[in-house]
């Protein structure tokens, strides 16, 4: 995964595309890269379109990232989460913590639009 910073009218936003599997083998990597990026911004969009598997340690990493983002007065918004990955969020109640969008553009736009609060796509 690679984080890139995109500037927007609402300040810089970190974008990362998660693909394949997010599990014990690579969740550490996510956390490290996230921490590095956190120095620049607290707002993130994770593009999960190509993410097809997540386990509890992957989920744990995402939640840790989210907590840090909250501490930096930011947020993590998830885009394009596949239904079967979404099932794991639902199962573990992590669904309530994150905001979901159908695609990256909508997720990015949500940072610009203050009126969109926690309206997740279902």
């Amino acid at each position: 995964m690679q984080f890139q910073i995109q500037s927007s009218s609402y300040g810089p936003i970190g974008i990362a595309a998660l693909s394949g599997r997010l599990d014990a083998a690579n969740s550490y990597q996510l956390r490290r890269q996230f921490d590095r990026c956190l120095r620049t911004t607290g707002k993130f969009v994770f593009d999960c379109q190509d993410l097809n598997f997540i386990d509890s340690s992957g989920l744990g990493a995402l939640v840790t990232c989210l907590r840090k983002a909250f501490d930096a007065a930011g947020d993590i918004r998830l885009a394009g989460v596949a239904p079967k990955v979404r099932l794991v969020f639902e199962l573990t109640q992590a669904e309530k913590l994150f905001t979901f969008f159908t695609n990256t553009d909508q997720a990015l736009a949500s940072f610009n639009d203050r009126s969109i609060k926690l309206e997740a796509t279902s």
Binding site: P83, K84, L87, E90, L91
Partner: protein, 474 residues
Amino acid sequence: MKTLLIIKANTFAWLQAVFPDRTPLMASVCNKPLMEYLLDFAIMCGSRHIRLATDMSPAKVEAVFGDGGRWGVELTYALIRESDDLAAVLLKNSRYCFGSRLLVMEGCFFLRYDKQRDYASFMKTAAPGELMSCATGRILIHDDTPFQPALEADESPPPMALTHLQSIGDLYRQSLRVLEHDAHQYVLPSYNTEGDVYLGRNVMIARSARIEPPVIIGDHVQIHKKAVVGPNAVIGRNVIINAHSQVRRSVILDKTYVGDHLVLDQKMVGGCQLVDPSKDTMVKLEDAHLLSSIQILQGWERNRFQRLGHGALAAFLWVCLAIPYVVLSFALKLRGQWRRKEETYWANRRGRTTRLAGVSFNSSGLCGRIAARLALDRYPLLGRVILGDLALIGTRLLTSTVANRAIIEMDASYRPGIFNYVEAENWPVPEPDQDIINNFHLARQTLFYDLVMMAKVFLNKLNKETALCESISK
């Protein structure tokens, strides 16, 4: 009146696709196999002879229903081929079918009926031909004897309806429908029924757990603290629902472990398969902490971190107990109460064996009692834990007989430890339940958890009047 059930594999393809390791013929609604509903119905219709004609192996059905003796009927089995139509099946079973009124149930469906109503007299007088059908099956009466119409058919037929089953969603909805609305119409399997709560045998529910009816729970189920089960939950046999988890409007199939702090709402779960019946999406979880099949929990060999942890703890015990071991073994040897014994054990599920030299001693004297409380009988085995061959705490070690191999392959997840989780329980566990308990702990084990369990084992040993002296289990 006789009954002929015609069930073909292709009508169950949807089930096989999601749960390949479950026998289609034993697919169940509210923990009762579909096959058993049909059997009950056939009996209510006055059948004493029932034949199952199928192109699948009926062995699993036969293992459960046998010759039908327990139902007071004669149940027989016939093998047919996928391409056989009704006429071909009737011809293949012509001796069975000949000269008798025949109730034929063909396909894969759920049959609604009401156990309080009289079906026998209706079946006796109904005209031959198709009674009902749905997208995936039908029920008909076949009669090659001359038909005598009833003098006056003024009574309306008793309630019967077919619901098609062609997706996991159908099976899920049918289960919940029976549980919510029609439970009283069928004989549902339970050992203990209170209101809308059907409980199986050997169900353990933590005091702080909550059961919200209607709920049906199968045999050998554990529900842990602060878990909430129901409303509208169907829990199969051999299921563990760990602490703080919630299960509502969901169906959990047999042999499933549900981890802690999880929420299952409108889901169907079997082993590590999680299905959302409303969208027909499913995911196979590979994470044993979330959902897993209770049978296949391994990975001990892959988890180096945990093995190191066990090794370190074993080394610690080895150092702590070195002096007592030397002193007490010397004292016991002097009295001739110290015996070495060597035996070969299965080391893992894949058939590797290991030879272990244990000791046993007489625990009646003072030295013996102290040695037993310090678990010195396991002391020589600690080395094997340090080497990473065995777990410090795990399931029972089984000697390398083929019989035990069969046990390992059939029932239990096997991670042999020189101590057992069972020893950490506060109460004596009868032998048949030991494996269930061991499996349960194995399912939730982490290094820290094992540490706590080890502490409990030693506390138990120190407290117990008569410590277990039998070296490792038989």
